[in-house]
Amino acid sequence: MRGINDLKPTSNPIKRAYLYLEEWFNLSFGEKWNPLYHLGPLTFFFFWIALVTGLYLFIFFDTTVSGAHASLEVIINEQFYIGRIMRGLHRYASDAAVATIFLHIFREFSQDRYRGIRWYSWFTGIPNLWLVGLLGITGYWMVWDELALFIAIGSSKLMDALPIFSDSMARNFMPGNLGGRFSTLLAFLHLLGLPMFLIFMLWFHVRRLSKVEISAPKGLAIGALLALTVLSLVVPALSHAPANLSKVPTVLHPDWFYLNIYPLAKDWPAGQVWLLVGGITVLMMFMPWLPKKKTGAVAVVDLNHCNGCGQCADDCPFDAITVQARTDGAKWKNEVVVAPQLCAACGICTGSCPSSNPFRKTSDDGLLKTGIDMPGLPLDQFKRQTDEALAKLEGDIKIMAFGCDNSYDVETLSAPNVAAIRFFCIGMMPASLVEYALKNGADGVFISGCRHGDCYYRFGNHWMDMRIHGERKPALRARVDRSRIRIFGAADTDGKKLKKEFQAFCDSLASQPPPTGAPHTTAQAEEARHD
């Protein structure tokens, strides 16, 4: 109905593949525990396991070149199963972190959550990829077994190709040398330098997001820890034979999560390996602008209608709104300001604003105003669209459907008795609009949006859901008949399910007596406003 559709994403195969995977996990874990909804926190959790088990290993580990391998053998063989579990957890949790990081990248990329204002999160994610990679490499290097020697020589070849050091590094690893020149540096990097730097960079990574989830859901965390423990016992994490500089390692079992470039570095000239790795890094860095995402006009505050309550600031998923002292001399204490460079133009703030109320009187210029509005689809415009749509509805059961630009298109439900309006995000829909539709001719309101548990704009459908259920301000009034409202989130691939749910909703409405809703009065409008 809005007519502009340039923001609507097309359904590409990568996106669909992701959505099917997500659906499978929803089936297995439910929305609450779906690992794909908690990839960041899951990665943190794996880091935690690595940290705790790493501290354990460090107690017994000898960081010198001559003692490292033997000390690990002691941990593995002479500590009942504890050492085995600890080392296994350390290795496998680190591997699992790489797996979840890649799923995280896959998710953000496939769902187009890496461009626009999200360039920042994407861009600051990339250094972490390097840091995690280096953590793994230094970890395997410290073991000083044949694999470590292979890594040492491979790394040396790569480093020697860079015009940084005048001395060849590879020559350190020759018979007679201990190869120990790096062991202190390695221990420092692996035990302290890299982890600290990683924590710092991760802080940067999530800095522009609000309400970042750091801890994975308990059930998921317990499941993962259990699974990793079983794996540690079934497939013990072992070393190769001790490094011997007079020997050439013949067959190696590299950890492909971390050491994937070394088999390549063996056969490729170092320059080409750098070109590949550097090329991928640079390409990833520029991806948010290849091509750039068109973001709509950012939210605009109208102080005449803002009392500075700060609900929008609390709801904004990208920390783009701040509350500050009033500047216009009005009787309120505070006001809000939008940082345009942080605003994703999702419109969730419009849905958060208690002034976004279709029952309110229009201003002198005949427009319905609110405290924070979206120039691309102002409150006045979608209220009028709702009016027009309601006026045109015909049939026994009239339904108003609301949806968003990033999920299954609710406009496909349009029929003589069904009208649909899409918002930028379903969180943009004021809860009072639902009541308004029910009072002005709709027998039922069907609300869609992204899948439950997931939202293109992080929290939009969650806030909407809470507002409709009276759990978050500005809430839908308690007296509104909830049986005439159906919420069903649906991704691009959920068309069938959505239609089925919609049909079920129609059937349930058909079995109900007609609503008693009468056209609203000014008194009702006032009441709604103060709700």
Binding site: W33, R91, A99, D160, A227, L228, V234, V248, D255
Partner: protein, 167 residues
């Protein structure tokens, strides 16, 4: 869905995840050196000699220079390419000419080459020529070694120590 079935599905998912982790944490294996082979590694870090001989500056020439640049010897910046040849049992297994890097061709060269060879007893001759003014290789080293499979013969080079060092 009933929760026992859901837990079963979760266990299945974790099993698949762990199988992937367990497998790729050490597989597929990589063969670094074919069976029955040994390896010779040649590592050379060396700067070629100047392309022209250095010349002693005359007193007048020195006086004409700014005080901080009064070097008694006048040497060309450009260095000679380094030619390296490694011969095993009479056959060359490595033959390379490395030009000095740098815009003025004035920097040292670095060679690090590993060559797999059949295990067994071999006669190695390593040669290096680092000056365009020399007619023949000015550094030569040789050694007979008996290498078991997976043994490494490391050939290092230090001009100050007389050239090639077999380790």
């Amino acid at each position: 869905m009933t929760s026992p079935l859901r837990y079963l599905l979760q266990a299945l998912n974790f099993a698949v995840f762990m199988a992937i982790i367990g497998y790729f944490s050490a597989n597929p294996a990589v063969r670094n050196l074919e069976e029955g082979l040994a390896q010779v590694t040649l590592a050379i870090g060396h700067a070629g000699q100047p392309v022209r001989p250095c010349r002693e500056r005359t007193a007048e020439e020195l006086a004409a220079l700014p005080p901080n640049m009064r070097q008694p010897m006048d040497c060309p910046r450009e260095r000679s390419p380094v030619i390296v040849r490694l011969i095993m049992d009479g056959k060359p297994i490595l033959d390379m000419t490395v030009n000095p890097p740098g815009a003025f061709k004035d920097q040292g060269i670095d060679i690090y080459r590993s060559i797999p060879i059949p295990a067994g007893k071999h006669h190695f001759v390593a040669k290096l020529k680092d000056s365009v003014r020399e007619k023949d290789f000015n550094y030569v080293g040789e050694k007979v070694v008996d290498l078991a499979p997976a043994d490494l013969l490391f050939i290092d080079f230090h001009a100050q120590m007389g050239g090639f060092l077999f380790k």
